[in-house]
């Protein structure tokens, strides 16, 4: 188990200030992530207004069941990561590591489902911009929908992969017992990041699949 002093960097007066700084930094980072997606959401809003019927039609081409499955998977993974933090606070590092591994596994399931969807769209010619080849829905705006679909889910997918790396690193630390009741800040921050990944998907799912 860790003591408080060994985790305090030389320039912080105490562990509490350091944890406060870390959390504040993480919140600011999450704000930048949301603003990064905000540019894409703005583009989505504008083009949905310009091409309402094309967007509705193109949205019908993607499989809502797949999206719903992935939503459930990601929400479950948010639960497991929150539980991991909970156990780590109680000093049960091994349990926390196991839950983090479960989170990574769920993220893997998410990516597999996403791969199946991508493979289907690429095969059917539901492609962005000038690559769009789908004669059954040949209206202006359909290609734009798939441009945004691939950009938004692609950027989100990159975040999922990055999150898996972070979680793996945290799982290794938790297994070794680096975190405990007094000091679980890295796990907390990793969990916050993973919740953001989840949150972005919760916005993407209705925008792309449902409406």
């Amino acid at each position: 188990m860790s003591t408080s002093s060994e985790h305090v960097a030389h320039h912080f007066p105490d562990l509490e200030t350091q944890a406060h700084a870390a959390r504040l930094g993480m919140w600011l980072f999450l704000a930048t992530e949301i603003l990064l997606f905000a540019g894409l959401f703005t583009a989505y809003a504008l083009y949905r207004m310009l091409f309402p019927s094309a967007f509705a039609g193109a949205s019908g081409l993607i499989d809502t069941r797949m999206g719903a499955l992935n939503t459930v998977v990601l929400i479950t993974s948010s639960l497991t990561v929150a539980l991991a933090y909970h156990f780590s606070r109680q000093g049960r590092g091994r349990a926390a590591a196991a839950l983090l591994l479960a989170t990574i596994a769920l993220a893997g399931v998410f990516l597999v489902v996403k791969y199946v969807e991508y493979a289907h769209h690429i095969g059917a010619g539901h492609l962005p911009g000038r690559y769009y080849r789908y004669p059954a829905l040949d209206v202006p705006g359909a290609a734009m929908f798939f441009t945004l679909y691939f950009l938004m889910t692609g950027l989100h997918g990159i975040h999922v992969v990055a999150g898996m790396g972070v979680l793996a690193w945290l799982a290794a630390g938790a297994w070794r017992g680096s975190y405990g009741g007094e000091y679980s800040t890295p796990l907390e921050l990793g969990g916050m990041y993973w919740h953001l990944v989840d949150l972005v998907w919760i916005f993407l799912f209705p925008l792309l699949y449902l409406i």
């Binding site: 960097a9 030389h10 320039h11 912080f12 200030t17 406060h20 700084a21 504040l24 930094g25 600011l28 980072f29 704000a31 930048t32 992530e33 603003l35 990064l36 997606f37 905000a38 540019g39 894409l40 703005t42 583009a43 504008l46 083009y47 310009l50 091409f51 962005p128 911009g129 000038r130 690559y131 202006p140 705006g141 290609a143 734009m144 441009t147 945004l148 691939f150 950009l151």
Partner: protein
């Protein structure tokens, strides 16, 4: 700073002071490169027709000039160098909140610069630094490395800003309340907020343009249903606040320098401090004034016009308070002070022409002409770069432990002041006369003013060469600096020169406000 360890210890340092020095070296190199391109542009414009280069080369030159000066110098310079070095010293912290992240930002900056340089070697982009679509998505030049470089530099900027915000919130020394913070800290804080909140939007926008340029996804391409004006909105949502990222830190520097050399506490501390936050806030809602001629509705134009006026009001508050700070002071006219008052003059003139542009009707004539070029160079060169020079001269003794030649300092300041005016006042007139910006050739009636501007630019360049020369010489031959050579009562001067690794010998205390010169108390007059 005392030399400790070898090159490796510099490359892996987490000391904010060394990171500041690394930024100083890197951004100065970029300033020189951007200045070289500026001189090439002025050389080409010496005659109405082709002078020394082809149109395509010229287009690349002004693009690179803009990209380098804005993304690689103006935005990172003062935060990267001076905020890094002095913010912890001013608030009594031993380092910034995240020292490793701070080092990481240097490497991000370096990576962004290298990617951009790779783009230049590959021929460089010809889009202008604004990357307007659909030109930028259809040009045959290699735009993507420059865009990717811009994205990476944006990340460096975000990381720096995030670090400073957290530092100010969590690492102020005991007893140092918000209303005691030096004004440079306030303006740096406001800058950091913009860096964190605006830069991600630029990041995604640049990525979208890069993706579209390489793959043809059509997000901004009207031929595929895209809207090129959407790009302008997204771009200026960042790039207008970015102007305040560039100028706010310089305003903070001027607040410090004026107090130190007039030996007076600032007149209206709260007004100066909060106007920084005001500029940062209003700056997010003025981007539409770049689109007055793009077919935007008259209502939108009116709203953006009025909001832009408020930036002018906040700046005016600062200017009046600065001027009042000199009243009944004890003024020593030295190099940093010379740059500070030059800054005030340039910002008043440049700022008021900015407000003039926001009257909408006048903007219709001036939009995309040399008037706009002159206006933003008054703010960028006359404001930011002059503020940078004030900071460099004010803090040089603390950073390097050496004194530079005061005589040559003033000589260079005169060169820069005169050269600057001769360069950019003719450009205002060129804009009035109707010369559009980014013109490779021009009708003969614009000739005389262009020659005047080019002549002024060479005087300006000479000023910078002099500065470079005496500063470099001072490193070897300059006399050793005292801990507080100016007799300043800014908090950052309370530590020895060079500052020890953890900044202070013991815990600093703050019994008085910064720049309190009400009595001649001993021990802080230096010498």
């Amino acid at each position: 700073m005392a030399p400790r360890g070898g090159a490796w210890s510099w490359l892996t340092t987490r000391d904010h002071k060394r990171i500041g020095i690394m930024y100083l070296v890197l951004t100065s190199a970029m300033l020189a490169l951007g200045g070289f391109y500026a001189m090439a542009i002025r050389m080409e414009l010496l005659t109405p027709g082709p002078t020394v280069m082809e149109a395509q080369t010229y287009n690349r030159m002004f693009t690179l000039h803009g990209v380098i000066m804005i993304l690689l110098f103006m935005i990172p310079a003062i935060p990267g160098i001076f905020t890094n070095f002095f913010l912890p010293l001013m608030i009594g912290a031993r380092d910034v909140a995240f020292p490793r992240l701070n080092l990481f930002s240097v490497y991000l900056y370096l990576a962004g610069a290298l990617i951009a340089v790779y783009g230049m070697i590959q021929g460089g982009a010809d889009t202008g630094w604004t990357f307007y679509t659909p030109y930028s998505t259809t040009t045959v030049t290699k735009v993507w490395p420059i865009l990717l470089g811009g994205f990476t530099l944006g990340m460096a900027s975000i990381v720096t800003g995030l670090n400073f915000i957290v530092t100010v919130h969590t690492l102020r020394a005991p007893g140092l309340t918000w209303m005691r913070l030096p004004l440079f800290v306030w303006s740096s804080y406001a800058t950091s907020v913009i860096q964190v909140l605006a830069t991600p939007v630029l990041g995604i926008t640049l990525l979208l343009v890069a993706v579209e340029n390489v793959f043809g996804f059509g997000v901004f391409d009207p031929a595929r249903g895209g809207d090129p004006v959407l790009f302008q909105h997204l771009f200026w949502f960042y790039s207008h606040p970015a102007v305040y990222i560039m100028v706010l830190p310089a305003m903070g520097v001027v607040s410090e320098v004026l107090q130190a050399f007039a030996r007076r506490n600032v007149f209206g501390y709260k007004a100066v401090a909060f106007s920084s936050l005001g500029i940062a806030f209003v700056g997010f809602f003025t981007w539409g004034h770049h689109l007055f001629t793009s077919g935007q509705s008259a209502v939108d134009a009116g709203i953006f016009g009025v909001l832009t006026m408020f930036v002018g009001v906040f700046t005016a508050i600062k200017v009046f308070n600065w001027t009042a700070t000199l009243y009944r002071g004890s003024i020593s006219f030295q190099t940093p002070f010379a740059y500070a008052i030059a800054f005030i003059f340039f910002v008043v003139f440049g700022g008021m022409t900015g407000v003039a542009l926001a009257t909408v009707a006048l903007d219709v004539h001036w939009q995309d002409t040399y008037f706009v070029v002159a206006h933003f160079h008054f703010i960028m060169v006359g404001g930011t770069l002059t503020g940078f020079l004030a900071a460099l001269h004010y803090w040089w003794p603390k950073m390097t432990g050496r004194m530079y030649s005061e005589k040559w300092g003033l000589v260079a300041a005169v060169f820069i002041f005169l050269g600057f005016n001769f360069t950019f006042v003719p450009q205002y007139l060129l804009g009035n006369a109707g010369m559009p910006r980014r013109y490779y050739s021009y009708p003969e009636r614009f000739w005389a003013l262009n020659v005047a501007s080019s002549a002024g630019a060479s005087v300006l360049a000479m000023g910078f060469v002099i500065v470079l020369a005496y500063l470099l010489l001072s490193l070897k031959y300059g006399p050793r600096a005292a801990a507080n050579p100016w007799g300043s009562r800014g908090y950052e001067w309370m530590t020895p020169t060079p500052p020890p690794p953890e900044n202070f010998l013991g815990q600093p205390t703050y019994p008085r406000p910064a720049h309190d010169y009400r009595e001649a108390h001993p021990g802080q007059e230096g010498h």
